[in-house]
Every structure is written in C-alpha cells, then in structure tokens.
Amino acid sequence: MRWIQLDRAKREPARQGCGALLVALALVWAMPASADTAAPASIKYPVAPEGAHAGKDVAQPIEFPHDIHTAVNKINCLYCHTYARRSKVAGIPPTSKCMGCHSVIATDKPRIKQLTEYWEKKQPVPWKKVHDVPDFVHFTHEKHLKKFIFDNDELVQNLSVDTVAPVCAACHGDLRTMTVAKKIKPMTMGWCVSCHEKNGGPGDCWACHK
C-alpha cells in the first residue's frame, strides 16, 4: 500500500542505516577510556527542581545497562534516543539500532544473546514504560533540548555524554549510574512549575495543557 505524504508534513532525512555501525564503532573507540566524567564548570545547566520520588525497580525484559553505554563507553544519550531532539517523545531506539553495534560487539554476553534472539525472531523488545505524564500534559523533549542543549553554545562546543547527561538528569536522574531506568523525580505539575519558575520557562496553562 502506498501513501502519499502531504507537503505540510515534516520530512526529516534519515540519519541511520548502514552508516550507523561505523558511527557506533567510531564512538566507542574514539573516546578515551579515562575521560573526566565531570562537565566543564563554565557550562550553564538548568537549575534542577527539588523533590525526589522513591521509584520502584522496574524489571525489563533485558536488563539494559545504561551505565556501560554512557559512563564506560561514553556514548551520547542522543545517539540512541535520537528522536528526543525532533519529537515530543525521546523514543526507545529501534532494535535495528542496537543490532548496528551488537551484531559485532559483545555478541557472547547473555543479554546480547537475548537481544539477538528478539532480533532474529523479528519481535520488538517489550520494554516497560518508566517515565510518563498524563495525556492532558503536552510535554515535549524537542523544546527542552533546544533550550538546554542546542541553544547552549558552550555545551554544544563541548558536546559529549558528560555534558549532555546533566541536562537529561534534571528529570530522569543520572543514568550514568543506573542499569535500567528508575523514576527518581516526582514529575508532578508542582515540580514542573517550580522548574519553569527557576529557569524562565513559560508559566501559562496553555504551554502544557492544550
């Protein structure tokens, strides 16, 4: 079945495919293993709102190690969650992206074997959702990333997992220290509003409730 796209639809060029493997390998090997985990002190970050949430441990079908990917191998958050800069959702990376690296890397590890099994059966991994906001809240990653990452010149000049992760951490906690994600921030309206107040975000109802 063939559908014709309207010209008013957004059409982003695809930035993945067979090139992904090379990029991934380059990323893994180009990073010095002993890089400093702290971001340069001069970069301005959002003033994180106070408040914590005692999230529960969510068992995932595969215990995905965020720490190995980010803290050890220095892969930028946005390499996998590539939709975050273009969409309201950050997106779980498609299995094809995982396999871009893991068809050659760490293929003997049990979790990778599990992943390969899903891939060969052509089944997506049924990840459990950890972070969510109600349907009447229009949160968008795109705008938050624009403000705190891409409009932040100093950060852009020093773009790496260690400069980006503190931005993500404001809402998600520091994934460099976690395996699977865990909700450790409240994500309530009051909490959102306090961050908007501290960082000059919009204060009108329509910004989020439309």
């Binding site: 079945m1 559908w3 014709i4 796209q5 309207l6 010209d7 008013r8 639809a9 957004k10 059409r11 982003e12 695809a14 408040g51 914590a52 949430h53 999230g55 529960k56 969510v58 068992a59 939709y83 273009r86 969409s87 309201k88 959702v89 997106g91 779980i92 990376p93 498609p94 299995t95 094809s96 891939w119 052509k122 089944q123 997506p124 991994v125 049924p126 990840w127 459990k128 959702k129 950890v130 972070h131 969510d132 906001v133 109600p134 349907d135 865990k182 909700k183 921030k185 409240p186 994500m187 309530t188 909490w191």
Partner: protein, 735 residues
Amino acid sequence: MMNLKLKRREFLQLMGWSTAGATLAGCDLPTTVTLEEGKEEVVAYLSPEEYVIPGVGVWYASTCLQCAAGCGIHGRVREGRALKLEGNPDSPVNRGKLCQMGQSGVQTHYNPDRLSKPQLRKDGKLVDISWDEAWKVLDEKVGAAAKTSGARVAWFTGTVSGHQAALIGEHLDALGSRHHFVHEVINNAVGRAVNQDVLGEAMPRLALDQAKLVLSFGADFLGTWVSPTHFATEYAKFRSGTRGVLVVAEPKMSLTGANADLWLAVRPGTEGMLALGIAHALMQSGVSVPDAARPAVAAYAPVKAAEITGISAQRIEQVAALLKQHSPSLVLAGATVEGQEQGYQAASAVMLLNVMLGNVGQTIVSSGEFPFPQLRPRTGNTRDLVAFAAAAKDKALDVAFFYGTNPVYTAPASLGLAEGLQNIPFKVVLTQFPDETAAQADLVLPVASSLEDWGTHVAAYQPEQGVITFQQPLMEGLYPGTPGVGDALLKLLKMREAQKYGAFNDYFSYLQNAVASLPEQYKASGLTNKQLWEQTLQKGLLTVDSAPGSLKTNVGEITLHEVKADAEYPLHLIPSPRLGLWDGRHANIPWLQEAPDQISKVVWDSWAELHPSTAARLGVREGDVVEITSAHGAIKVKVYVFKGVHPDAIAVPLGQGHEGYGRYANGIGANPLKILSPAIEARTGELALYGTRVKATRTGVHEELVKEGRNNISQRSRKLVVTISAEQFRRTEGV
C-alpha cells in the same frame, strides 16, 4: 459497586479535592491507563520506516464519509495510527472546517462493535465463517440468480457516487438488473425535483454570501440541510461586513432558526401558504408575479394566510417589505416544507418567491454540467425505500445487497419492510457494524472503515468548480481480510465478468487506472500518470471542468389544499434531524451521544419538544414520560418544554431507539420514524416525513431528563470522575 453512605452529589463534591478523591479509591473500576512505572509497555520499532519519527504526526488527505456532503479531510497519522481528523483547506466544500460528525470519524473507525468476520445464516442464526467461504457462497448464490433471474437482483444503498457508484451500476448491468434503490432519510429530494422543474438544474449553486437577506422555510442549512459545513462558512460571510438578515419560518426551532433575527413559528404544513401570503404582499407592493402562479398568489391575501399559518398579517407584510428592501435575497425550503403530502407544491411556492424577487441568476446560479456522468452522485431519497418495500412485499426480488444504509431501522413500521424482507431469499449486507438490517441478513460482509479504504466521491452539492474528492487509507485495516467497498465490488464483478475486470488486482489499481485514463486536458504541463496520481492524492481532490449553463424560471401552477384538523390526532409529529446522530447512523458514537443537542442540551436520550401551552393542556412538565400515538404505532419519550415549537406540533429527534446497533446505541430513547404514516408526497412519491398526526398522553411516569449545563451529577454508570488508589497516587504523584 460503592459501599459508602454518601449521596452522589456529596461524593462528587469530595472528588473536587484530589486528596479526598484518593482516599475514596478502591470503589471504582480498575484503571486501564496509568502513569505507574512498569505497568505499560513501550514497544519500539524493529526497523523504523524512513520517515517515521515517533511522536511526530504525518497528515494525509482523504474524504469524510460521515454524511453525503463530501467534505475533504486531513487525517493525522502517528506511529501507524489515525488519531485526528480536520478539514482539508483545499476542499471547496468545507474549506478546512469539519463538523462534529466528521471529527468523530475516528470513533467510527476504532469502534469496538466493528465486525471482523463474515457471518452466514445457518439454521436461522448468523454464525462466523471464513472469508473464503463467504466469497464462495456469494459466487454460488449470485451465480445461480444470474443464470435464471439476474433482473431480480437489487442493490439498496445510501447516497453513493464516484467509482463505487459506477461499479454498482456495472454489477447490476452484468446481471441485467435495473434495481438500484438509493435511500436517505435526510434528503432534499422534493426540493431537487422543484429545482429541476423550475430552474432546469436539480442542485444549482446557492450564493449565500451574496445574499443580503436569507428567508428559510425550515431549511436548517447550519445543521442538517444539504451541505451544512459549507453553508456554515458561507453564513459567516453573509453575517460579516454589512450584516445579512436571517428570517426563519418553521414549526420547530432548528439550529438555523436559533440564529435568526426573526423566527416565525409557522403552523406545521402551512409553510406553502405563508410563502404565497408573502408573495401576495409583494404583489401588492408592485412586484410582478409569473402568470401561472397568479391565481395561487391572488388566493392568499396576508389576512387569509395569517388565519391559516398563525403568522399575523403585519408580520407577513413586514417580511415582504424586508425582502423588497434587501436585494438580492435567497429563499430556501427545507424538510418541514417538503415532507408533506403537498410538499412539492409548497416548495414550488417558496421557489416562486426567488423568481419574483429576481434571485435566480444572482444568489441562485447554475452549477454546470458535471463532465463524468458515470461518477455523478446517486442521491438518496425515501421514494426508493417505499418502492423497495413494495418490491419485497410483492416477492419481486431474489437477491438484495445492502450498503451504507440501515432501512430496517429507518423505515416506518407501516411500510412493512421487515416482513417484506422475509420474501427476499438471499440478503447480503455490507457493513462495518452489526445493525438492524444486518440482523435480517443471510450473509453479512464486514467492510473496511472509511479511514482504511480507497474511493472517489462527487458531492451532490458542488459549491464552486466541480471536484472529484479522493479517499485514501490513513492506516492499515484493523481487521485483516476485511475488504474495502470498492474491493468487494470488484470481487463481485470478477465473478460475473472475469475478462473485463480480471486485469485489476485490487480497487487501488482500478482507481490508478481510472486516473491514468482521464482526458488529456487533466494532464497539463507534461505530468506523467504517476505524478498526476500522486498530486491528486496529496491534494485529496481533482478539479473538473463543469461549464456553467444558465438557469430557467419556469414557474408552473401552484395548488395548495387546506390542512385539515384531526380531532383524534391533534398534533403534528416532527421527526427532527440533528447534526450529530443524523438519521441514527451515528448513535453508536459516544462523542456524538455525549455532545448535547444544540437546542435542548439533552445528551444520551430522546425527548419530545412541547410548547408550554400544549404541555399545560396535557398536564405534563419536563421529564414526564408521554406516549405519542399515531394510527401506526406508539413511542414513549420524556417531555422537554420549549417555546421554540408550534403549539400544534410535537418534535422528537431522529437517531435513537436502536435495538441492534451495538453497546453505545442500544436501548436508548425511541425512534420516531417507526410510527410515521405511509403517506406519500403527491408529485414525487417521497414519504411525507412530516405529515403524520399524533396524540400525546401522559403516562404518569417521571424521569430526569439529562441535560448539559444543569446540576446533574449522574455518572451514568461510567467513569466520568476517575479515581485511583491512595497507594498508587503516592507512587505516581510523588507525595
């Protein structure tokens, strides 16, 4: 469900405080949507399509099929799911707007009552069968009929147009039958007949925005008449700038009537006399009357018209003066005028005003000849319903196909259609939903929803240049194997004429071929067939050359008879259409049940509108249940007391009273169509939908009439206020 000694009002007031709401949890249905971690799955693509970005929608152009107006739509698709419909700005019909019925297209599409498997009647019961078996049975039964009595095969449809209509015609031709019955309850068939006879065109263009005054006799152009979304935008133009004057004369206030500057409660069935009274007043002030109509106009001096219609002579003269003062004007006749035994004559009297005032050629202009006759709309009416019921009763049919209409629900009981259907040995119903007609079928074929299907459509009312609108799937079908309507038709045709149709794999390729074989003038600037096809789908429509002709003004003789009073049945029944449930086809859409009626604000129910004086005479107040009895049956509905209805009338909205139309429609309210008399409009053979006399009697039962905007705290057994457990609240809200 709830074991607390709280009145519902107190319960809901407590709900206002969210923490209190949380403490009451545990007494509600399980929550299916949650923010709690680890409860829902988030499934990523295996390998994403090139252009898919999760969370970012893509819009496709298509055509709305919720009524026959033919509005263009844009559908937002995200992650393979159609989520939102809006109007297509390129469509001359709706110019980017979309009414509530169109918006609700997604609830038709995702309706949980949709059929997913074909059903065959075995031992008196409909049982699920495979698609292979369904096609085999069809081939055998229709094949047998084709050999012996192809002429006894019939199609009974709603308004159809475009290539689907052409294929239905081809199927009947292949069988040697001429029986295509086209039925709509909400139609303007009598008006079309008058237009054809007087103007020479059944549906000329109406330049509402050019008129300085619109006088509508029951034509609810903002709600249910012809092309409501189009006229609503034209109405906005009519009212802006130098504000146009709107005068509405009708026995029951419609949405259009509620917007009028002057609203006249005319006695039911006397609109024609009112029009002649106004014509008489115009004649007295020097406006010339066509010769043929002169005797009729002369017979209704304002004083006489006032006596008959209940509108005072001064008012009649005032309207005539307004018409003279505001030129050009536009005078319209709607269903309350047409749906009478002398509906044609009355609508002719209304058209006479346009001729006298010189509106023809100014606000009523030719729409030209649509260049592809095979694609022209087959517009629905009630004459075909009457004819079909008679044919069934006379055992004149062996096989009947039903599509896009539910006649067992819409036919008045007095037509005996349900009994007549027993005489048709093989009845095939193509439908998305189980409905009253499907319940009588021998074979039920589920078809794709309009958001999953291909098609071309030609609107009966073409506001500007003629267009063919295209319908394309917004998403994959929810039920694999379910064919589109065009695909089902092609399959039927292949069974009869394998040679002619064998080349087309599916309806998609048939339509592609149709576009490729358009005359050369449509392929301007060196477009390839592929480019033309893609450009057409992208825009959602194809503009055709329909050279405008010129309209005639052939006014004939007008003969109106007195409307006699009926002592036993003193009230006129008005089965009023609503933008929402329409003729009942949308009663299974929760959004439209929940959307309050534009006038009474009632939701999820039927009601009977009574004038306060009539209600007082009957001794009833709002919420009292009355029994409405005609010579052909009775229904029970709650009373709504309202000044916007003539004291001699009782108005019951269409759409409710379903018995087999799924979980949202069944068992709500009553269907006024059931008790209509089989009276016929004399000239056109249409059912006189507004010609039934009834009486209303109190039953002594009182129930609450549920309306929007009242202190109504009923949850109606549904989760209007959602609750969650305190534990869950703490977890998700981080307290």
